[in-house]
Symmetry: C2
Subunit: 270 residues, 2 copies
């Protein structure tokens, strides 16, 4: 199924713009899991997915947390992707980027081998570094635009004839959207920039929005500025605040409570 | 051993600025290896390393080619890193980038788990996305500055008060070099930009230079513009032209010939 249809269906079914980030840090998952499970990263994810799958539109797996755990991490990544219900969007967040012939390999790895529905990529290399990903017309590529971190502005806010670089990137994203499979990444920590990017992108390009929760992004502004006129096409991500809600036996239940609160809180402003 | 000492020693010992890129594409290695070897990616790399280890200052492994081969690829990557002689610099080319707490995971994965001496990273997120890598003071982080691909200029050449973005990145690299462990990536396909970046960086920051060979970069200009005043601190990379010199039984021997010619040709202009 095309990513857009999948996102649209699950957004309606679960009445949700919430994307749960499975940033499964082996140093932060409940200690008892490390003692009782042979594959604690996967078992942790499985419990979180079981507890939240009726509340989300997407799961986002940040690849750094799996790579750093070596073979066991890659194994947990693959098993998790297989375990996520087929009607929920899977975003692999690797921020990959390279010249054309190499970008094509990353695209193959993420979409063909790992079966992602959507990915994140970095635009610094320009169009021919992005094109190999966009050739996968049934998949979505979220291109970094204005990131959520404190020094995002170092290069993204540089002014080019009065226009900040991130806005030029946003305009390029709209231009590159010929196959209707581009998305943008904009941090919730910068609500005004989010509003500007939504205006540039129009209503049909999705925005993946990290920065809610630990990073401090405001929920109301995020929804009002990031969603389109129909209150859709925003994937509002929370990772640590949801998945590490508790270190006790009831960790999954506590995650569900956080996710449910956030899903509903987001919906207030749609 | 600190990366700088290692690079300096091997540059002298092998009288070489040549970095061989092990972009080991399973679709391009000799067919007979796929039939005779249980681990063709590793066996291919092993043969190339055996044939070229007295001619290079570094090997660069582009992670995309290993990731796309799944578990077998990751296994070949790890085995290759173990196999490379300890006095040769190992560059893991993944162009990773993320916000601080996640960048720290990538740094851990590349430097601690995979034992790279040097890596490539993408600067789009600004200083706090780069800092976790720079905390590894005995390792080198090559930051993308002006890439070798045709559309590199889409964002890297945007003018900010008459200064192109890639020059602003070069200035930041110099500023971020407090621990003497920054490097820059500049494509050989843009010799004038390479010259400008060398001037900005001074003599002690290394430049990793892809774009020789298939991509068409001129060797003389690359050496004259990219090396420092002592004819050092440039890692001139060639991948496909060397490692895929032949598909026959003598592929490693043919690779050696190409590598030897290139090493010597580079040295003419140092």
């Amino acid at each position: 199924m095309n990513w857009r249809e999948k996102l649209s269906n699950i957004t309606s079914l679960n009445n949700s713009l919430l994307c749960v980030g499975l940033d499964t840090d082996v140093g932060k998952i409940p200690k008892f899991l490390l003692e009782t499970s042979k594959n604690p990263l996967f078992d942790f994810n499985k419990a979180i997915i079981d507890a939240t799958k009726d509340l989300v539109c997407a799961y986002k797996l940040n690849m750094a947390f799996y790579e750093t755990a070596g073979k066991k991490g890659n194994d947990a990544l693959e098993k998790t992707i297989q375990y996520i219900p087929h009607n929920i969007l899977i975003v692999l967040d690797g921020k990959r980027n390279d010249i054309g012939n190499t970008a094509q390999k990353y695209a193959q790895s993420l979409f063909d081998t790992l079966k992602a529905d959507a990915i994140t990529i970095n635009p610094y290399l320009g169009k021919d570094g992005v094109s190999p990903f966009l050739e996968y017309t049934d998949k979505c590529s979220f291109i970094l635009c204005r990131t959520s971190n404190p020094s995002a502005g170092d290069f993204q806010d540089l002014l080019v004839s009065s226009t900040p670089v991130y806005q030029i990137v946003a305009k390029k994203i709209r231009e590159w959207d010929a196959n209707k499979n581009c998305g943008a990444v904009v941090g919730a920590t910068y609500p005004e920039e989010l509003k500007t990017v939504r205006t540039i992108l129009g209503d049909e390009i999705p925005i993946l929005i990290p920065g809610i929760g630990k990073q401090g992004g405001d929920i109301e502004k995020t929804v009002r500025n990031g969603a389109n006129a129909r209150g859709e096409m925003a994937l509002i991500n929370s990772s640590r605040e949801i998945i590490f809600a508790s270190e006790q036996q009831d960790f999954a239940e506590q995650s569900r409570k956080k996710a449910e609160w956030l899903r509903n809180h987001i919906n207030k402003y749609r």
